[in-house]
Every structure is written in C-alpha cells, then in structure tokens.
C-alpha cells in the first residue's frame, strides 16, 4: 500500500517540466530563419548581468517577438485543452470524451464568431472589446455542453454511445454553421479564416488584454478543477457511489463543467479548434502515471503543453516557408495513436 504523496506529484510534474523546457528550447531554435541558441543565451546573460542594455535586434525580433510568444501560447492552449479533456472524461465517465469530440470546441468557435459579428454594434470601450471573443466562446461552450449532456441522456442516465453521437453530430452541425457564416462574411477583415476555426492555428498575435485573460483564466480554472481532484476519482466509479462516499455530486459537476468549458473557450478564442489534445494526452498520462486525478490533472497540463508545442513546431517547419494549421498536425499524429490505444485496450 503506497498512497500518492504531494512529493510524488511534484516529482512527476518536475520531470515533465524539464521535458517541456527541452522541447521549448528546440522549438525556439527551429524555424525558417536559423537561430544560434548559444548566441541568444550569451546575449540574454549579458542583459541579465547588465553588460548590455538590450538583445541584439536579430534575436530580439525572431526569438522574443515571434517564436517565444507563439510557444507560450501553444503551452497555455495545450495545457487548457488537456485539462478540459481530463475533466470531461471523469465527469461523463467516458474515456472518449474531450472538448473536440463533444462539440464544445465547435460551439465555442461559433460563440466567438457570433461575438465578433455583434461586437461592432455594441460600442464597447477598447479594453473590453478584446474580451468579447472569449466571452462569446465561453457562452458557446456552456450552451453546447448543456445541449450535448441533455441529448446524451436516456431514461435519466448518461448513455455513453448517445453522448458521443450527440457530440459528434453537434460538432458537424456547428461546423456547417461556422462555414456558412465565414463564407457569407468573408469580406470582413477581423474574422479569421475557415482553417483557424475548424483546424486551429497559433500564428496570430494577441492583444495584451487577451494575454492576461488567457493566463489568469487558465490558472483559475485549472486550480478550481484541481481542488475537486479526489472527488473526480470517486466520480469515475459512478455518481451514486461517489455520493455515498461523501461527494457533493451536484456541486462538483456544476463547478467542473463550468471550469472545463472556460478552459475550452479560452483555448478556442486564441487558437480555434485543435483536436485530439484533450482526448489523447490524458490517456497517455494515465498509462504513465495512473488514473489518480491528483496527479493526472497537473501532468496532463504539462503533457498537453508539450504536445502542442511539438505539433506547432512541426506545423511551421515541415512545409516551410508555408505553414500547416496546428490542428492538422495534431490530427495527423493523434488519429493513428488513438487507433493504437483503442485496439490495445480491447485486444
């Protein structure tokens, strides 16, 4: 009998943080323009030691202005999607649940697009204007998960097959509406392209307000989900069982749905719908670290970050100088991996 300890969680997260660091360093180096990391590090050291006042313009522009923000974005988006996926899988007791499969990503995209369409008519102050997309995405996410949850019930119980089918059908229906809207409004400059909303992209620059909303929102929602980690462990055994073991099922369900929808909405409003991260990362982490949510939630966050940084680096390098949508990359790698895990489980 060796129960999980706090030190154990820290140790596992530390290892993954190290892996993430290595991946980030490699990602900084790779790209259309070659960059000497040694030179960059030396430069950075000089600045830190106050021997020079600023980075040389070359590194400054490519590394600091272009690649680093994009990598940071990839980290937060990946972590958000993976934590949201972990939460949905536990709540719905379904190992195939994730924001993309359940249609929450599509609902979120549609919410964001509708918000962008309405926004010019609202005459909001500039500081609030940046928040319109995430708010719209959040409302879209909550509406979709509520709809899918109710469609997925049969005789008062959540039915796995009904739930997944409802999710997949909602996703395709919502995607069709997105295509319709984007095509009709294609003249508008502020709407991102079709591939952004349907496949995901990390190339755009973010407004400063949105950066803050993204960072704070991620920490808040992940923290809230983490406080319910032991409740989620028991919910895996079923809502009745959890209730008899002292879990306030209704409260946990509501809180985690909202927090997971928020994570999805944040990710979607800055990167569109990226698939497979929320589905696969928790599974891989479960294989490595076990299914205790006290370790699964933080390791999934790191795993998601690592996965999206790698996927985005590949997306911008394999066909350089042009770029693939990052969602295409995650699907290319994720679909075969998913089939493998599925076959392995039922073999």
């Amino acid at each position: 009998m060796r129960p999980l300890t706090f030190q154990g969680v820290v140790l596992r997260c530390g290892t993954l943080a190290l892996v993430l660091f290595v991946v980030v360093v490699i990602a900084l180096k790779l790209g259309a323009v070659p960059v000497s990391l040694y030179g960059f590090g030396l430069d950075l050291l000089h600045v830190l030691l106050r021997k020079s006042t600023e980075l040389s313009s070359n590194y400054n522009m490519i590394v600091y202005d272009i690649r680093l923000p994009r990598i940071l974005l990839a980290i937060i988006v990946g972590a958000s999607l993976a934590v949201a996926g972990t939460a949905f899988q536990a709540l719905l007791r379904n190992p195939l649940a994730d924001p993309y499969v359940l249609g929450v990503s599509s609902g979120s995209s549609l919410g964001a697009i509708l918000a962008l369409i309405v926004e010019p008519h609202l005459a909001l102050p500039l500081a609030f204007a940046a928040l319109v997309t995430p708010v719209g995405a959040f409302l879209g996410a909550v509406a979709t998960i509520a709809a899918v949850y109710f469609l997925g019930r049969r005789e008062g119980q959540i039915d796995s097959n009904m739930l997944l089918l409802s999710g997949i059908i909602s996703a395709s229906f919502l995607s069709a509406i997105i295509m319709f809207l984007i095509t009709t409004l294609s003249g508008r400059g502020d709407l991102r392209g079709m591939s952004f909303w349907l496949m995901g992209e990390l190339s755009g620059a973010l407004q400063p307000t949105l950066r803050w909303v993204l960072g704070v929102g991620f920490l808040l929602a992940t923290g809230i989900i983490y406080t319910t980690a032991s409740d989620l462990n028991l919910l895996l055994a079923g809502e009745k069982e959890a209730m008899h073991l002292g879990v306030d099922v209704r409260r946990v369900r509501l809180v985690v749905y909202i927090a997971a929808s928020l994570l999805t909405a944040l990710a979607v409003s800055v990167s569109g719908s990226i698939g497979y991260i929320g589905l696969l990362v928790p599974h891989v982490m479960r294989l490595i670290f076990g299914s205790d949510h006290r370790v699964l939630i933080p390791t999934s966050a790191f795993g998601g970050a690592i996965a999206v940084v790698i996927a985005d680096t590949l997306a911008r390098t394999v066909v350089a100088p042009s770029e693939l949508p990052v969602g295409a990359m995650t699907a290319l790698a994720g679909a075969p991996l998913f089939i493998y895990l599925l076959r392995r489980k039922f073999a």
């Binding site: 129960p3 190992p95 032991s230 895996l236 055994a237 079923g238 009745k240 008899h244 306030d248």
Partner: protein, 279 residues
C-alpha cells in the same frame, strides 16, 4: 444528583441508533401523473450491533427503503433518524462519515488496485487537496484485515473473483468508520461458501464494532439465520417487523412471495423455508 442528568441517562432510549419513523415515498416519472410506485408508512428501529434484513419480492420497495435510510432520497413524509439526526438533512460528507453503503458495484472505468479502492473510503474525512496520511493507510489496512482480505491488497480490482471483490467493497465501507452499514443484495452472484463467509463476517463485525447493519436480500434462509430483525415488504407496504421466528409464518410468506412454501425449525432454532414445487 444534578450531575447525573445527562443525555445518555435513559439506557433504553440511548440504545436505539436508527429509527425509521412512518416513512413513505412516491415515485412518478412525471409529476402530473399518478405515481408509478408508492411506499406506505414504514417504521422500525435498530440498535448497535443488530442486523436487520429487509425482505420482499421484486418491486416491493426494499431498495427504496434503503435509499431513504441512506438519506440520498427524501421521504414524502416521516423521517429517518440516526443517533437523533435526520439522515436526509446531513451534508454528503457528514453522512458518509456515518453511513456506508455496499451496493452492486458499477464497472470501473480505469483499473485500480484493491488498496486504492479501500482508501477511497477515507474520502469523507479528507479535506480539499488531501493526500492520504499514515492513519488513513492504517485504517484501510485494518479494514482489509477485518474482512480477511489482506492478501488481496495489491491485486487489481477487475481481476478479483465475485466473493473477493465483495469483501474488498465491504472493506472500503469499513474504512469509512460508519455507525450504519447498508448492504444492497450483497450475496447476489456469490457461491454458497462466499455467501456464508460474507454473512459470518457481518455478524462478527456487528458484534465487535457495534455497527448497525441493514441488509436488503432475496435469501430467505440466510436472512433467517443471520438477522436479528426482519422487515417484510410487499407492494410498497410494510407487512411485518420482528424477529425471524415471528415474521416467518407460512401463510404470510406464501401470500407475499406467491409460492407454496413450508416453514420449519432448523437445527439452529431459527426458521427454515423450503420451496414446494407446484407440479
């Protein structure tokens, strides 16, 4: 003497741990329709160390009574008191510290080891972001030992036999350190040896740890051998409450179970029911 005026003064009253008082319930799929199932006022009392068996045919209301006792469902009228507290009004956490439920297990989504499963019983005592302490481990280990399942500790739950699994589930309930142990058809799908083993364990635990045990079962003869009290339900009506010898009347059981039966006295002095084939 003024100092002796304490709440525990009346020994007879303090002995009652669970009182089910005129509890009724109605279930309907749609509030505007007539109820599909009703439970008429049911009352009984149980003391520490006592085993109560709830008997009755399918759809007689056995599981409903159990849920009302567990406090997870609110009675239409009447109340269930556990040491003076209404079970339905307790918070889920406090309720789980006092009432443990052993029910037909739902399949696990992801595999876990027996000791992890038993440690789940410590959840009602944990705070947010709690990691199990040495005490929790000790209590879980002790619970496994009490049901004779120490050796199963490191096994995977999905690789245990029916009887082994039932013992581990019981160990999880014990690690909740409850006052009241509720079991919903615990002997279902078990062979006769495991059934007797489980009930012997319950008998011993009830005597040693002073649990009040409520068992819903279809096994008339096991109930007669092990229960101190029988609650006989029929179509949502509580027909009889009392010791097995009082409740096990041939005509009454034949009427409730719609089967010709013979009731005799077994070598242990308790009643024994034999089915008489119709043809």
């Amino acid at each position: 003497m003024a100092a002796s005026f304490t709440f525990g003064e009346n020994p007879r009253a303090s002995e009652i741990r669970l009182s089910v008082e005129q509890v009724s319930y109605a279930y309907s799929a749609n509030p505007s329709q007539a109820p599909l199932f009703t439970l008429e006022a049911t009352s009984f009392h149980a003391r520490p160390g006592e085993i109560v068996a709830i008997l009755g045919p399918n759809a007689s209301g056995k599981s409903t009574v159990l849920k009302l006792i567990a406090g997870t469902q609110q009675p239409l009228s009447g109340r269930v008191l556990l040491n003076g507290f209404v079970t339905h009004s307790l918070t889920p956490r406090i309720r789980a510290q006092r009432i443990a439920m052993v029910q037909q297990e739902s399949p696990l989504l992801f595999p876990c080891r027996a000791w992890e499963f038993v440690l789940q019983g410590r959840h009602p005592y944990s705070r947010t972001l709690h990691f199990e302490s040495g005490d929790d481990v000790l209590i879980a280990r002790n619970a496994l030992a009490q049901v004779g399942a120490q050796d199963l500790s490191d096994r995977w739950m999905d690789q245990l036999s029916g009887g082994e699994k039932q013992r581990v589930i019981l160990a999880r309930a014990l690690s909740q350190q409850p006052l009241l142990l509720l079991l919903d058809e615990p002997t279902l799908h078990l062979d006769i040896g495991s059934q007797v083993g489980l009930l012997d364990t319950l008998r011993r635990l009830a005597a040693e740890n002073r649990y009040t045990v409520i068992v819903v079962t279809h096994e008339l003869n096991l109930a007669a051998q092990y229960a101190d009290q029988i609650v006989l339900l029929h179509r949502g009506k509580c027909l009889r409450v009392g010791p097995p010898a009082v409740v096990y009347q041939r005509e009454l059981l034949e009427q409730v179970f719609q089967t010709p039966l013979a009731v005799e006295s077994s070598p242990t002095g308790r009643p024994r029911v034999t089915i008489i084939p119709v043809s």
